[in-house]
């Protein structure tokens, strides 16, 4: 009966595969940020940012990321400032009541490619490119899904009716995706000299988007291990106290 009860408890507590039924299985890739002691690979994040900036940002926003956040992926403050300054930001009103433009600052969010969803749809054959800030936590498979999607473009199998302006992707639910294959070899020139294969760029941008989804991941794991060890000692002390106090009662 104890075993049955354990099974029952597991059945209740183990997260259910709700909503996972759709779409093809996503192969596991494995990332440096996985696991209890996982950390971001900062050089990969920087390369991923380069891919985002030079490729993805043409259509996809990252509305929760500010230029100042770029220092968290290992860029210096001056580098982040320089990147921000390339952007033109509308500010104001000034004391004449006029809006004006100025170079971007660290406190500005990354620029958005479209002023509103309607403009985004109009430019993309009616499809709305989603904001990517949370994409790895908003899709089953997370970074694996991003990687699989970016490397999953192929010719449709024979007899597959592809819609007008749609593209075939092995890993997209339903296989029809409005986004054309965004990556091709050497789409970016990495500043650190890494060869820009499609797989490399996909892996880098997947890690970068893992970071945009949870920039506090490293804090969480670091504090988590300390907290857990502390609680382990505390629980041991509590249990020892219990035994000592109860020794008198038996």
């Amino acid at each position: 009966m104890k075993r049955l009860m354990l099974a029952a408890a597991l059945a209740i507590l183990v997260p259910t595969a709700a909503g996972a039924a759709e779409g093809p299985a996503i192969p596991a890739h494995g990332w440096p940020s996985d696991g209890l002691f996982g950390r971001f690979d900062k050089t990969a994040l920087q390369r991923g940012f380069q891919v985002y900036e030079q490729v993805c940002s043409a259509c996809h926003s990252l509305k929760y990321i500010y230029f100042r956040n770029l220092t968290e992926i290992g860029l210096s403050t001056d580098q982040a400032k320089a990147i921000a300054a390339e952007d033109e930001v509308e500010d104001g009103p000034d004391d004449q009541g006029e809006m004006f433009t100025r170079p971007g600052k660290l406190s500005d969010p990354l620029p958005r490619p479209f002023p509103n969803p309607q403009a985004a749809r109009a430019a993309n054959n009616g499809a709305l490119p989603p904001d990517l800030s949370l994409i790895t936590v908003a899709r089953e498979g997370g970074a694996d899904y991003v990687y699989a999607l970016l490397t999953g473009f192929e010719e449709p199998p024979e007899g597959f009716a592809l819609g007008d302006g749609m593209n075939y992707n092995r890993y997209f639910p339903g296989h029809q995706i409005a986004m054309p294959p965004p990556l091709f070899p050497d789409a970016v020139t990495y500043t650190d000299g890494t060869p820009a294969t499609v797989e490399q760029m996909a892996a880098d941008v997947a890690q970068f988007l893992n970071w945009t989804a949870e920039p506090r991941l490293e804090d969480r794991k670091r504090i988590g291990i300390k907290t857990f060890l502390f609680l382990l000692v505390l629980a041991g002390l509590f249990f020892a106290c219990k035994r000592k106090v109860w020794a008198k009662a038996h």
Binding site: V137, R139, I225
Partner: protein
């Protein structure tokens, strides 16, 4: 046993307001059965979970915006730009699961040891009222992040009220504050989500009041017969509760720090979109069993009635269970049948997580039928026909029997 504080200041206060004596009698020398096992930890754990939810929730509310245009972004603001906001939110988010897990174990413990039987019927009722309040609070809290599932869960659940004959639509629109789930709905849910936990605190105090009248039940289910059967609450049960708390916190921390999104549907990390219905709308794990009961019945009104009835029927349990013996330990048949209800709850939870298609329809209906059969038919029948094993004379008898010679020590 009057209580006289040693310190002159506390003595001065005690004479005017006997608060120290009250605490002393209720928490220090409070006589507790000496044989409580670790299943009795879950009441205090539930209380601690409630305090954790309120403490984190109050701080989260300082940063949250209850506006349908801002709610989703304000959660991300908390996750990214509020100092330790991610930690507060992950504690609060997973704290609700911990709270329900602990409360469900607490309820099943009560079921096994007959803690709902006379004279503890009102204590049981108050517990069920707390459960209902918790469900309302958790549901409304789930809506606040205004993600896709937040929005659609709110739509599905509030739509249940349209099943009420004649006035259903009017009531539902009144709940929504409009003709669909929208900004007014979010705002009132936030208000109530902040209010109800304090109502729960109030009912918890009445629950404890009722508890302290006839004191705790115990694994033997027999009444205490004097000081030999009891131990003072402090230090015996304060340390025993702490020992359980240590384990609770370890599990809690493991989830918060290493799998904080494990119980969150990925789709809720997308902002609410009233124009796009998600393929599967599922509630949090702690509602899945009730969701399965709702969907087991093809008629909407009857389904809603069965779902609410599944909890309301528990109010009648003290009378549905006809056995005079409290603890399942001395009830050879009920002891086995009890586990069928536990398994049934697990099966319902599993069915609730899956789309109502194919085998799940049949399993869901059978499990729903068994749930009511168990409570309405089996409980009275077993009580009538079962021959309970002889009860021990007192709590001390079997406890001291283990120590053999210790019986002469008194």
């Amino acid at each position: 046993m009057s209580y006289t504080p040693g310190n002159p200041v506390t003595r001065w206060i005690e004479y005017r307001l006997p608060i120290f004596g009250f605490v002393h009698h209720q928490l220090v020398d409070y006589p507790t059965p000496r044989n409580l096992n670790y299943w009795w930890n879950f009441g205090s754990l539930a209380g601690i979970a409630l305090v954790i939810q309120i403490a984190t929730g109050v701080v989260l509310a300082m940063h949250y915006s209850a506006d349908s245009n801002l709610a989703f972004d304000s959660i991300q603001q908390i996750m990214r730009n509020v100092n330790y906001g991610w930690l507060l939110r992950y504690i609060h988010l997973n704290g609700s699961s911990m709270f329900f897990a602990v409360v469900y174990i607490h309820i099943f413990r009560g079921l096994y040891y007959g803690s709902y039987k006379t004279p503890r019927e009102l204590l049981w009722w108050l517990g069920l009222i707390i459960l209902l309040l918790m469900m309302a609070t958790a549901f409304m809290g789930y809506v606040l992040p205004w993600g896709q599932l937040s929005y659609w869960a709110a739509t599905v659940i509030t739509n249940l009220f349209t099943a009420i004959p004649l006035v259903g639509d009017a009531i539902t629109q009144w709940l929504w504050g409009g003709f669909v789930v929208g900004d007014p709905t979010l705002k009132r849910f936030f208000s109530l989500h902040y209010l109800l936990p304090f109502v729960i605190v109030g009912v918890v105090f009445v629950h404890l009041w009722a508890l302290h009248v006839h004191k705790s039940n115990n694994p033997l289910g027999i009444d205490t017969k004097g000081p030999k059967d009891t131990l003072p609450f402090h230090p015996y049960y304060t340390v025993k509760d702490l020992a359980g708390l240590g384990v609770f916190l370890l599990i809690f921390a493991a989830i918060v720090f290493f799998a904080p999104e494990a119980l969150v549907a990925t789709i809720n990390n997308e902002p609410a979109n009233p124009l796009l219905t998600p393929p599967h709308i599922v509630p949090e794990w702690y509602f899945l069993a009730f969701y399965a009961i709702l969907r087991a019945i093809p008629n909407k009104l009857l389904g809603v009635m069965a779902m609410f009835g599944s909890i309301l029927i528990l109010f009648a349990l003290p009378w549905l269970d006809t056995s005079p013996v409290r603890s399942a330990k001395f009830r050879p048949i009920y002891k086995q049948v009890f586990w069928l209800l536990v398994i049934d709850a697990a099966v319902l939870t599993w069915v609730g997580a899956n789309p109502p298609m194919g085998k799940f329809v049949l399993i869901g209906r059978l499990a729903t039928a068994y749930y009511f059969l168990h409570l309405v038919v089996l409980m009275p029948l077993i009580g009538w026909f079962e021959r309970p094993r002889p009860l021990p004379e007192s709590i001390t008898t079997p406890v001291l029997k283990e120590g053999a010679a210790a019986g002469g020590a008194s």
